[in-house]
């Protein structure tokens, strides 16, 4: 009874254990159904452990194959960590394990070594005796194998064990298949999401080059490749085509532009030619003509995918990813790369279009800015108007004349055209006809400006008149020049003619045979001739001097250190013949420093100022010359007691050919003397100016720098 009880207790314990095992097994079955929720490695590990327990084996193992029949993962139960670590490599399928896969049937034997397919164990492998193993297969697909060794409690595995193994192997196949399907679905989802993000990123890029770089980088990342590249075909105007290679290896990006399009002998050339993708998992199995695939050789690529970019008929480019090991091409790589290529082709086309638009816009903007710069830099006032003759645009000069924002106002209100031609100008339809007029323009300020008015219609691309452009050319500068020219001609001709007339008059008087002039009169006549000859000589000298100054003659100055007193002495000597009855006093400040001056030029300045003082002062009025030291310069002054200068005279005194209206018909002169003085003093680095109160004489001052 006790024995019976004992047996019953053991049996109960065994049943409970079996029950637990079955519950675990059933739980695992549920997980298998949902394979993918649980990580596949965990699930396979549970299967192998359950198998060992259900089949009462010391050891159990489950090998997972890749698409090429290679074992990529091995799950074991019963092996200690040390034993597992001692196994040198995964089973390669050369022996019994390969046999059950090839034969696709369960193999059961008492001693492994006795089976004909057995090749023995690798070194350090635990010794195993009985064996049962079968393929993990579903339909035509073999996912791996499940095998157990060393049956506990028996010499070999039973047929019931074989049935159980078969059941577990089938469940494993379902689990692997489900997991792979789930993994594929997840990968697909991830790929789709990644492609969506890549597409979004690509379409945001404006520069074709950025698109290329992003595309190549995306291809590399998306497929876990070691090298990625994009070859783009560029059609040249000559009709020839070149390609540019953008290659990314690791994180290094290389760009090679202008290479010839490879011929069909090369793999890239083949895709360019046919537009058909190439997925080559092991290049070593393919016969390639030497030298036709330099990039592949250079990069040591062993497996690769090439897909056309932009249609099969004439691919715009070829997208490539490569690995340096054979068989590295992931499942679905060709399709993924093709999907990426579609997005790249679209993004590239968009970017190129955008780039062309940008270039056209930039060109257009540059042209617009150039025209605007020209428009605004012109001295002419330019106004454009619409068909209703309202102001649309003004250039800077026109805006200055308008004085305020006049956009939208009728042009006739802003710029009034006066003179007889005004009505003609107004009645003309500015938008439809062109014309030119010299008119007087009245500005909003009331200022009147003589202008040349040119107007022309503005037409659109169809030739229809859209408005008018009005150009107002200020004629004042031109007229000033004309006036100046007339003044110069008049002045010079008068200054030449008068002395000649006098010389002729005196000389012809002396030569008349009917009169005998007394000696004193003769001397007077000859002195007059000499004076007029001097006047002529002076005029010619002034003209030559101003011409020399214009030609950069001041550069020929030869300044030296010279005492102010010396300069005054030389100037006075020169002016002496013109002083008449004017007493001259010289007042020099004590201890005057030397100045830096060219004495011959300064002699001219001083004599000119002294002569002017004499010429424009009442007979006998004193002339005072003074020199003061005003650090860092010396100031010379020539003061007279003449009529003084008006404000207008002071403003124009140093201009060439300027002659005061008060004296120009009374006193000879060219209007060049003071202009010459100014040029000479400025060339010395000094300044010259006049101080005067009308009716109280004038003082001309100039400064000279100190000698070094």
């Amino acid at each position: 009874m006790g024995h019976v009880q004992s047996e019953t207790t053991e049996e109960l314990a065994w049943l409970r254990a079996e029950n637990r095992l079955l519950r675990r097994y059933l739980g695992t079955l549920g997980d298998i159904a949902l394979a993918g929720e649980l990580p596949l490695p965990d699930l396979l590990q549970r299967i192998v452990e359950i198998a060992r327990e259900l089949l009462h084996a010391r050891y159990a193992a489950l090998g997972v194959l890749d698409g090429h029949g290679r074992v990529t993962a091995l799950y074991t139960a019963g092996l200690s960590a040390e034993e597992r670590a001692a196994i040198p490599h995964l089973p390669v399928g050369a022996g019994l394990l390969g046999y059950i896969i090839r034969e696709r049937r369960i193999v059961r034997c008492r001693r492994i070594a006795d089976h004909p397919a057995s090749v023995g164990f690798p070194p350090n492998h635990p010794v195993m005796t009985s064996f049962i193993g079968g393929p993990i297969a579903r339909g035509e697909v073999v996912y791996g194998n499940l095998y157990l060794t060393d049956r506990i409690g028996a010499e070999e595995f039973s047929p019931e064990d074989a049935e159980l193994l078969d059941l577990l192997a089938r469940q494993s196949a379902v689990a692997i298949e489900n997991a792979q399907r789930f993994a594929r679905a997840r990968r697909e989802e991830q790929t789709t999401r990644a492609l969506f993000e890549i597409g979004k990123a690509l379409s945001a890029l404006a520069e074709p080059r950025a698109v290329i770089e992003t595309a190549v980088r995306a291809a590399l990342d998306l497929l876990g490749a070691e090298v990625a590249g994009l070859a783009l075909r560029e059609d040249e105007p000559s009709g020839a085509a070149r390609i540019s290679w953008a290659v990314l290896r690791g994180s290094l990006f290389h760009l090679r532009e202008g290479a010839p399009v490879p011929a069909g002998g090369s793999l890239v050339g083949q895709v360019f030619e046919t537009g058909i993708p190439l997925v080559l998992d092991d290049l070593s199995t393919r016969e390639l003509t030497a030298g036709t695939n330099p990039l592949l050789d250079q990069e040591g690529i062993a497996s690769l995918v090439l897909v056309p970019l932009g249609g099969e008929a004439r691919p715009r480019g070829v997208l490539m990813v490569g690995w340096r090991t054979p068989g590295a091409v992931p499942d679905g790589a060709g399709e993924i790369l093709a999907r990426l290529a579609d997005r790249v082709a679209i993004a590239l086309a968009q970017a190129e279009l955008r780039a062309r638009e940008q270039a056209a816009l930039r060109q257009s903007e540059t042209e617009r800015l150039s025209l605007e710069a020209i428009f605004d830099s012109l001295r002419d006032a330019i106004v454009t108007t619409d068909l209703a003759e309202r102001v649309v645009r003004l250039n800077h000069q026109a805006a200055r004349w308008a004085g305020a924002d006049v956009t939208g106002r009728p042009i006739s209100e802003v710029f009034r055209l006066l003179s007889e031609k005004e009505e003609h100008a107004r009645s003309r339809a500015p938008a439809s006809r062109a014309g030119e007029d010299d008119v007087v323009l009245m500005l909003p300020s009331g200022e009147q400006i003589p202008v040349e008015h040119i107007s022309a219609p503005i037409r659109d691309a169809t030739g229809e008149v859209r408005g008018a452009v009005h150009v107002f050319r200020d004629l004042r500068p031109q007229r000033e020049v004309e006036q100046l020219k007339a003044n110069i001609i008049s002045l010079v001709s008068h200054e030449l003619r008068t002395p000649l007339s006098h010389i002729k008059g005196y000389a012809s008087s002396l030569l008349q045979p009917d009169v005998e002039w007394d000696p004193e009169t003769q001397r007077d006549f000859i002195a007059s001739i000499e004076r007029q000859a001097d006047r002529l000589a002076r005029l010619i000298s002034d003209l030559l001097e101003i011409s020399r100054l214009d030609a950069g003659g001041t550069a020929r100055l030869e300044p030296v250190a010279v005492a102010p007193a010396t300069l005054i002495e030389r100037g006075l000597r020169q002016a002496e013949p013109f002083l008449g009855n004017h007493p001259v006093t010289v007042d020099l400040a004590p201890d005057l420093p030397l100045v830096r001056a060219d004495p011959s030029h300064l002699e001219r300045v001083l004599s000119n100022l002294v002569e002017n003082a004499a010429k424009y002062s009442p007979d006998g009025a004193p002339i005072r010359i003074s020199v003061t030291y005003d650090p860092p310069q010396v100031t010379f002054a020539v003061a007279d007691r003449g009529p003084g200068l008006t404000a207008d005279e002071k403003a124009h005194l140093f201009e060439r050919f300027y002659r005061s209206p008060r004296v120009k018909h009374r006193t000879p002169g060219t209007g060049l003397g003071l202009a010459i003085c100014k040029e000479i003093i400025q060339a010395h680095g000094g300044q010259i100016w006049a101080e005067s109160v009308e009716g109280h004489g004038s003082t001309f001052r100039f400064t000279l720098p100190l000698a070094d």
């Binding site: 008068h494 003619r497 007339s501 008059g505 005196y506 012809s508 030569l511 008349q512 009169t521 018909h665």
Partner: protein, 152 residues
Amino acid sequence: MTDDGANRPVILVISDDPEMARLISLNLRRRGFAVEQADLLRTRSDRWTPVRPRPDLIILNLENPERISPTEIQDLSARPWARAIPFILVAESPPLWQALANLRARVTVMRGTDMGAILSAARALLQKPPPSSPLSPAIILPGEVTDGPRPE
């Protein structure tokens, strides 16, 4: 300024250049003419007023002919007191020559201050009786007014 001597021809010298006026006057006086001088600048406001005694000849010397317009010359010439008086115009100004020649018959225009030529012209004009018509041909001194106008 009026010279003495009632029987001598009186010549009025009008000039814009005092020195030249003096020289012409000196030459004329040495040849026995009574001379009067009028300064063009000083008499600008009231110029062309009748001169007494009435001159027998007017010599108008313009060193700066741009200062006077042909209209002013015509105005002077057309004054009743001056209408019958012969003119010598010494000026480098074809427009003035033309203005005067168009108006007067007895006019000599000269482009230079050759005293011999001026004296010859003066003598010639004073010796010739006044024409019956103001449109009679003017006296033109050969060789002196080659570029001047010639009445038709």
